[in-house]
C-alpha cells in the first residue's frame, strides 16, 4: 500500500466526483446549454421555438436600448470593480496590521456581505429616500444643500448613488480575499528587507504588491464577472431608471424575458454578455501573466 498516493486512475477519481457532478450536469450544465441555444432562436413565451440563426444579434446592432445598457454596464463594472478592490485592499492592509480589536473589525466588516442583495437595496433606498433618508437629512442640516435631492431619480446623481451602494456591498468580499493573500506572504521576506533598512512604502511596493498579484488578479477577475452580472441591488434601487440610465445588461435581459416574453432575445443578450466578459478577462489575464513572467 505504499503506492497510496499514486493509485490515481481517472475512473477512480470520477467515482468520487460523481455525486457532485450528476446534479451539476442535470441542473446547471444541461439548462445552460439549452439557454445558450435559445439565444439563436426566436423563442417568445407562448410561441413555438424556432431556430433563427444570427437574427437576434443582427437586431442588437441597431437596438439603442441594448447599446445603452452595455454602456452603463461597462461604466458600472469598471468603477465598482476598481473601487471595491482598491478599498478592499486598503481595508485588508489595515486589518493585517493586527492592532487591538482586529477580530471585531473583521467581523463587523462582513455585515454588507451577509445581507441578502434584496435587503442591500432596501437599506440604501432608505438612506437615499428624499423625505425620510439620512443622507438628505444630514446634508440639509449641515447647510450643504437646501432642497431635498431625489438621489435615485435624478439624472446627475443616480449613477454615483447606485455605484456607492454597489461598492459598499462588494468591499467585504474583496477585503477577505486580499487579507487571505496578505497573510500567506512569508514573514521572512519582510525581515530580509527590513535588515536592508527599507521603509514601509518600499516594503509595500517591492514585496507586498508583487506577492499579492495573483490574488489581486483573481479578485479583479471574479469581481468583474460578478459585477457585470449584477441584478438584485440595482433592481431594488432603481428598476433601471431614470430614463433607463441604470439598466444594466442583466436588467435589460431580465426585462426582455420576463416583462415582454422575448426569451430568445434575452438569451442572446446573455450570450453576448458571456462573450464580452470572456474577452475582457482573457486579455486582462494575459497581460497579468506576461507581467508576472517578466
Amino acid at each position: 500500500m505504499s503506492d497510496w498516493g499514486r493509485t490515481r486512475t481517472s475512473t477512480g477519481q470520477l467515482k468520487l466526483l460523481l455525486p457532485a457532478l450528476i446534479p451539476v450536469l442535470l441542473f446547471s450544465l444541461i439548462p445552460l446549454i439549452r439557454g445558450i441555444y435559445l439565444g439563436f432562436t426566436d423563442y417568445r413565451l407562448g410561441d413555438p421555438i424556432q431556430f433563427n440563426g444570427l437574427a437576434n444579434y443582427v437586431r442588437m446592432l441597431s437596438d439603442v436600448f441594448f447599446w445603452k445598457s452595455f454602456q452603463v454596464g461597462f461604466v458600472w463594472t469598471l468603477v465598482v470593480t476598481f473601487a471595491q478592490v482598491a478599498l478592499g485592499l486598503g481595508l485588508a492592509l489595515l486589518l493585517n496590521r493586527k492592532v487591538r480589536f482586529t477580530s471585531i473589525y473583521a467581523t463587523l466588516m462582513l455585515v454588507p456581505w451577509a445581507m441578502p442583495p434584496i435587503i442591500r437595496g432596501i437599506v440604501w433606498r432608505q438612506v437615499y429616500d428624499p423625505d425620510a433618508g439620512i443622507l438628505n437629512g444630514v446634508l440639509i442640516q449641515a447647510g450643504i444643500i437646501h432642497q431635498q435631492i431625489n438621489w435615485l431619480s435624478s439624472f446627475e446623481y443616480v449613477i454615483p448613488a447606485v455605484i456607492v451602494a454597489g461598492v459598499w456591498g462588494e468591499i467585504p468580499k474583496a477585503a477577505v480575499f486580499v487579507l487571505a493573500g496578505l497573510q500567506s506572504i512569508p514573514k521572512d521576506l519582510y525581515e530580509a528587507v527590513r535588515i536592508d533598512g527599507a521603509g514601509r512604502w518600499k516594503e509595500f511596493v517591492h514585496i507586498t504588491l508583487p506577492m499579492l498579484t495573483p490574488v489581486l488578479a483573481a479578485v479583479v477577475s471574479l469581481s468583474f464577472m460578478w459585477n457585470f452580472n449584477t441584478f438584485g441591488i440595482v433592481w431594488v434601487l432603481t428598476q433601471g431608471g431614470p430614463g433607463g440610465l441604470t439598466r444594466l445588461p442583466m436588467l435589460a435581459a431580465y426585462e426582455e424575458a420576463f416583462r415582454y416574453g422575448y426569451v430568445g432575445y434575452a438569451a442572446a443578450i446573455g450570450n453576448v454578455m458571456v462573450l464580452v466578459i470572456s474577452l475582457v478577462l482573457f486579455s486582462y489575464l494575459r497581460v497579468q501573466l506576461r507581467e508576472q513572467k517578466q
Binding site: L17, F27, P31, L94, I171, V176, L179, P249
Partner: protein
Amino acid sequence: MKTRTFIADLLTHAGLILFMIFLVFPLVWMIATSFRPTAEIYSGTVALLPESPSLDHYRTIFLEQKIFTSMGNSFIVGICSTLIAVLIALPGAYALARYSTRWNNVVLGWILGSQIFPVILVMIPLYILLRSMALTDSLIGLTLVYVVWALPFVLWMLHGYVRTVPLDIEEAAAIDGASRSQIIFRIVAPLLLPAIGASVLFAFVSAWNEFFFALVLMKDPNLMTLQVELARFTGMEGQARTGPLAAASVLATVPSVVLFGFLQKWFSSGLIAGAVKN
C-alpha cells in the same frame, strides 16, 4: 520608535473605524428606522436613536405576512441544501486534490466558468426542466437548485484545504486497512473542519439570501422563501410601509449576520487555504 508605532496604530484604528462606519452604518440606520413610529420616520429630523421607540412595525409584519412560514421554508431549504452540498462536495474535493487527471481541468474549468454565465441563460430552461420533473413549487426542487448553486465555491474551498492535509496520515490509515471512504469521512474530514465550517456558512447564506430562483420557481404562497416574501413589501408604495419594510429586513438579515459572526474565524482561514494554495 515606540511613539511612532503608537501613532501608526492610532491611524490604523481611525482608518478602520471610518471603514466600519461606512460598512455598518446603513444597517444601523435601518434598525433604528424599524423602531421608529411612522410619523417620526417622516419628521425630517436627523437622530440615530428613535425618540419614542415602538415595536409597531414588528407587530405589523407578524400579523400581516406569512413571515414565519417563509422563514421556516428558508431554513429548511438552507439547511438541507447545505448538508447535501457539503456531503457530496467532500469526496469530490478530495478527488480533485489527490488525483491529477484530465477531470481536474474539466471540474476546475467549470468552477470558474460557472461564474461567467448570467443566471438569465439558465433560468427558463431550468424552470421547464424542473416543471417536467414536477419539482417546481416544491422545496425539494429549490433545494436541488441551491445545492448546485453553492457547489462551485464549496468544492473550490474544500479542495484547496485537502491539499494541506499531509499524505502520510492517510497512508498510515490505509496501511491499517481503512477504505477510501473511511479515510475521507473519518480521517480527512475532521482535519478539514475549518474549511467545512466555512463551506457550511457559505452554502447556507447563499441559499438564505437567494432571490431570483425562488421568485421564478415558487408559486405556492405556502412555499415562499423569506426573500420573496420580503420583496412583496418593496412593491407597495406609500409611507405607511417604510417602517414594516425595515423591520422585516432586520429580521431577514439577523440569521446571516449572526452566522457570519460565529464562523468568521473559520471562514477567513478557509479562504486562505482555498484562495492561496492554488
